[in-house]
């Protein structure tokens, strides 16, 4: 047996709120796979979109601070479930390859910025470091009969030079995991399209249009559910699905899972651990169709 994988874990702010179920399920499946996640001590927000739209140096300093925290743990690799956090971490690292930029950041940190830590997403470590074959071996309750569309969002793989993961236009990482779990994956053409992201607040109509298109296309392709890897995508598609329906006159009832939740189900973990009950669009009928009747406690609720 190979040595077990160990990473510094950077949850990101959404993990403490809107995407808590992503955090829960990520931790749960990693534990099930014997992957050690150690929380980064005293981590701070990555600044998300607002920070880097205002100031590149300040925004990078936020990520650089977290990277220093990782280095202080004596670990060389950090992992986060959130592609937006990852994008900020990686962009900061990319910018800091420039010496004068790195100096500016170091000045803000009052210490030299770290340039040694490797950053990856949870999805990336699963396919690149752990391996699909081994994931397949862990499946105890195959998702046979479940038809899903894998939706990566627009920043998981792009810009390719910075994210350096899978194919920028046609990623397959989640598709392959879903297939390994026994699910059927439809060839979803809008895999890397934008969901509208943070326009949900200033320009809701944009999200209604863009996310609406994702739901329409997934349905057209025959998907029973969408699988996501991004808190913002998941929120737009799940929490706003009713708003989308009323804005577009559609009647979607499409569960929006995190891929980690489906992995957990296939590994036989409890729905509770995976935060299935946190989803807005009720996935019950889809899960029941798999012959998984859910946690007994939940059923009685």
């Amino acid at each position: 047996m190979s040595v077990s994988l160990t990473y510094a874990y950077y949850p990101g702010c959404s993990s403490t709120g809107t995407s808590i179920e992503y955090d829960m399920s990520s931790r749960a499946i990693c534990a099930a796979l014997d992957i050690t996640l150690t929380d980064v001590p005293n981590w701070s927000c990555c600044g998300s979109t607002p920070a880097h739209t205002v100031d590149h140096t300040l925004s990078s300093a936020l990520s650089a601070r977290n990277l220093c925290q990782v280095a202080s743990m004596g670990l060389t690799a950090a992992v986060t479930p959130c592609p937006s956090c990852l994008s900020n971490l990686k962009t900061a690292q990319h910018r800091m390859k420039n010496d004068s930029f790195r100096e500016k950041v170091s000045k803000l940190l009052d210490k030299p910025a770290d340039i040694t830590v490797e950053t990856k997403s949870v999805l990336q470590i699963l396919v690149e470091d752990y391996g699909i074959e081994k994931i397949k071996a862990k499946v105890t309750k195959p998702l046979t009969g479940l038809i899903v569309a894998a939706y990566y969002g627009c920043i998981m793989n792009r810009p390719a030079e910075i994210m350096n993961f899978d194919d920028r236009e046609h990623p397959m990482a989640m598709d392959n995991i879903m297939t390994a779990l026994g699910a059927t994956v439809v060839p979803f053409p809008l895999k890397v399209e934008c969901c509208g992201a943070s326009f949900g607040i200033p320009r809701k109509d944009v999200v209604m249009r863009l996310s609406g298109k994702l739901l329409d296309t997934a349905k057209e392709m025959g998907a029973m559910a969408l699988v996501t890897a991004c808190p913002l995508c998941q929120m737009n598609l799940d929490m706003r699905q009713e708003q989308i329906n009323s804005a577009n006159g559609s009647k979607h009832h499409m569960p929006i899972f995190y891929f980690t939740q489906l992995m957990g189900l296939a590994f036989g973990l409890s729905e509770k651990e995976l935060g299935i009950d946190k989803l807005c669009v009720n996935p019950r009928s889809v899960i029941n169709a798999l012959g998984m009747e859910g946690d007994s406690k939940e059923k009685s609720q």
Partner: protein, 652 residues
């Protein structure tokens, strides 16, 4: 020795950052220098006269010109000193333009560096000896590699000029890409109708020997006397007997073979003749698909062939040809567009290449000239063309413009409307490059008379929607996003260098750029020459170009060959290695290291010695650094000459 030094201003090219008068003044103090001056344009007529006069007036017996690169004007000045009665090798050039003035701005530092380069040249000149060329015979046969339109043109022009021509073509037929085209811009005349007769001329010309389905294995020798080994690849058909009747094709049960000629639109039989007008019209078996060759069963073609030409045991054959000149005309290949994930990366059957579309438009093509969607055979209504796929795109490593895609896209838009009057065409473009004669008028016609909708912008994504494709892009003139529902998408895929171009260049000892296109001798003044004497270029192997330009280059290369062969003898380059027989100990090391096999062992009064074959030596100098005795010396670059340069530079 009395040396004259001429320091050139090159207008302001050199004088701008080098104090040429100061360089000349410094040169006057160098050993042997009897005269030094700066001049405005040394290469001009008055400039050359100044050299001739100075030689006479000051009885100079050696000249240094400090100016541009020797690649530019070494020959010019060698002729100048020759006119004044000096041996052409009593001349040295110091490159103070490319190596000094163009690369540094500091006038003082530049002036110092230029002075040192002149000092080196003058010191070497003190050790130079007159050298004389010998005359040698030339073989007036020419090899042309590649039978596209450029190679065909070169072959016919040479053959008409009375030369014996060997034409080597990689595939089973000549014609190249042009044979695959339906019509040609800007006249929309039938490609096969204008090319076909020329292909027939090649077949019938008594001076042309055609090796089809053959490749160059090895090239040795030098200008006037090349020896070329040609590999005739096994076709499993005896071409001396094959009449091209095509009966074998009708009976072959293996019908799923890749149809290379039709660019994979449709399939063909394992034994096939690529198209009716093929030259030579001979059948070949594709071993990968032949049941007999794969599994030992079948052999039907052998039974039905009326001429008994099938030979399943045929092997590759080699022939050696001696020629005096070579023309490379190996054309181009299409860029592998599947790297574009946003266009589906090859996943959508109704996204095709421009060349596949040409085959579809062609009446003798796999669809009989009907435009049909590969997915379901339906006639498309909306046809979207995307230009610059693999051209002008740094992100895929192809920053250059292919140059002819704008034009053929306009042609294809026009032809689409001719075939399907109800269809609507859309063209996504970056700019329209239509700079040839009648070209801009042609693209305008596509827009104005054939109602092609031109949208300036790139396509960001193609994805299936129902049974059509949604093409999403930017309209940068309107500043909006556009989405077009397309039934068929045609990608104007750019040109790559032809497969194997670099390997062939190495055999021919010619240079190629980072994309594999062959380098011309000079970008303006030697467009069809290479840096290897006797090797010429024609067509797209030198860079993407359209048919008129490819044909023009074919003729230009032919005229260069005819010019070369207009002499009966060529002068050899005396800058070759010479073994000093007194020093040679016969160890044979040089014989082993010489990459050109230019050194042979001889018996000299019972002793083993090395001797250089003058005409084969390329002057690379490897033997001179191999020889432990310093017996092998490269003329004009002897150890003494080089050391004198080093000493001049390192005197302090």
């Amino acid at each position: 020795m009395k040396i004259g030094v001429f320091v050139c201003h090159c207008g302001s090219n050199i004088e701008g950052t080098v104090d040429t008068a100061a360089v000349a003044a410094a040169a006057r103090e160098f050993p042997g220098v009897a005269f030094a001056t700066d001049t405005m344009y040394t290469c001009s007529e008055p400039g050359q006269e100044e050299i001739v006069n100075a030689i006479k007036e000051h009885q100079l017996d050696g000249v240094v010109v400090a100016s541009c690169t020797p690649r530019m004007h070494e020959q010019t000045f060698r002729r100048t000193v020759e006119r004044a009665g000096l041996n052409r090798y009593l001349f040295e050039m110091a490159n103070i333009r490319e190596h000094v003035s163009w690369i540094g701005k500091d006038r003082e530092a530049n002036t110092n560096k230029a002075t040192e380069l002149v000092r080196m040249a003058a010191s070497k000149l003190l050790h130079n000896r007159p050298l004389l060329s010998k005359q040698f015979d030339i073989n007036k046969r020419v090899l042309i590699i590649g039978g596209g339109v450029a190679g065909i043109q070169a072959a016919l022009d040479c053959a008409e000029g009375g030369l014996e021509v060997i034409l080597v073509e990689k595939t089973t037929t000549i014609g190249g890409k042009m044979a695959k085209l339906d019509k040609t811009f800007p006249t929309v005349d039938c490609s096969c109708c204008i090319l076909g007769p020329r292909m027939v001329d090649v077949a019938q010309h008594p001076n042309i020997t055609l090796y089809a389905y053959s490749e160059i294995e090895e090239v040795s020798g030098y200008v006037g006397n090349f020896e070329v080994k040609v590999k005739k690849k096994a076709t499993y058909v005896d071409w001396d007997k094959c009449t091209g009747c095509g009966i074998c094709m009708t009976k072959c049960p293996s019908k799923k073979a890749t149809d290379f000629f039709n660019e994979g639109i449709g399939k063909t039989t394992a034994i096939n003749i690529p198209f009716p007008q093929a030259i030579p019209k001979k059948a070949k078996i594709d071993a990968n698909f032949c049941m007999k060759l794969q599994k030992g069963k079948c052999g039907i073609c052998a039974k039905v062939c009326p001429s008994g030409c099938i030979d399943f045991t045929q092997q590759d054959e080699f022939v050696t040809e001696k020629v005096g000149a070579i023309v490379a005309a190996t054309g181009f290949d299409l860029f592998d567009w599947t790297v574009y994930g946003e266009y589906g990366g090859g996943r959508y059957p109704d996204v095709i290449t421009s060349l596949q579309y040409e085959r579809m438009l062609s009446a003798s093509g796999p669809t009989g000239g009907h435009i049909k969607r590969p997915s379901d055979g339906k006639e498309p209504k909306n046809v979207v063309f995307i230009q610059c796929v693999g051209s002008r795109d740094k992100s895929v490593g192809r920053p250059y413009c292919t140059g002819f895609c704008c034009m053929y896209t306009a042609k294809q838009a026009i032809l689409t409307k001719d075939h399907l009057p109800e269809a609507q065409t859309y063209v996504f473009y970056m700019d329209i490059r239509a700079t040839g004669k009648n070209y801009d008028e042609f693209t305008r016609r596509a827009m104005e008379e054939y109602n092609a909708k031109y949208i300036r912008g790139r396509v960001s994504m193609i994805y299936p929607k129902g049974d059509s494709l949604l093409v999403r892009g930017a309209d940068t003139l309107m500043g909006t996003q556009v989405e077009v529902d397309a039934d068929l998408v045609v990608l104007a895929v750019g040109a790559d260098s032809s497969a194997g171009a670099a390997g062939l260049a190495e055999k021919l000892r010619i240079s190629y750029d980072s994309y594999g296109f062959y380098m011309e001798g000079h970008p303006k003044l030697k467009p069809v020459e290479t840096n290897t004497a006797g090797v010429y270029l024609a067509g797209c192997c030198q860079g993407p170009k359209d048919i008129p330009s490819s044909v023009a280059q074919g003729s230009a290369a032919a005229s260069k060959v005819l010019g070369l062969f207009s002499k009966d003898k060529l002068a050899s380059d005396p800058q070759v290695s010479v073994v000093d027989i007194k020093r040679c100990i016969g160890c044979g090391k040089c014989i082993k290291t010489c990459p050109f096999g230019a050194i042979k062992e001889i018996d000299f009064r019972g002793m083993k010695k090395a001797e250089v074959i003058e005409t084969v030596c390329q002057g690379c100098g490897i033997c001179t650094s191999t020889c432990p005795q310093g017996a092998a010396q490269l003329q004009h670059f002897t150890d003494n000459q080089i050391l004198s340069e080093v000493n001049a530079l390192c005197q302090f």
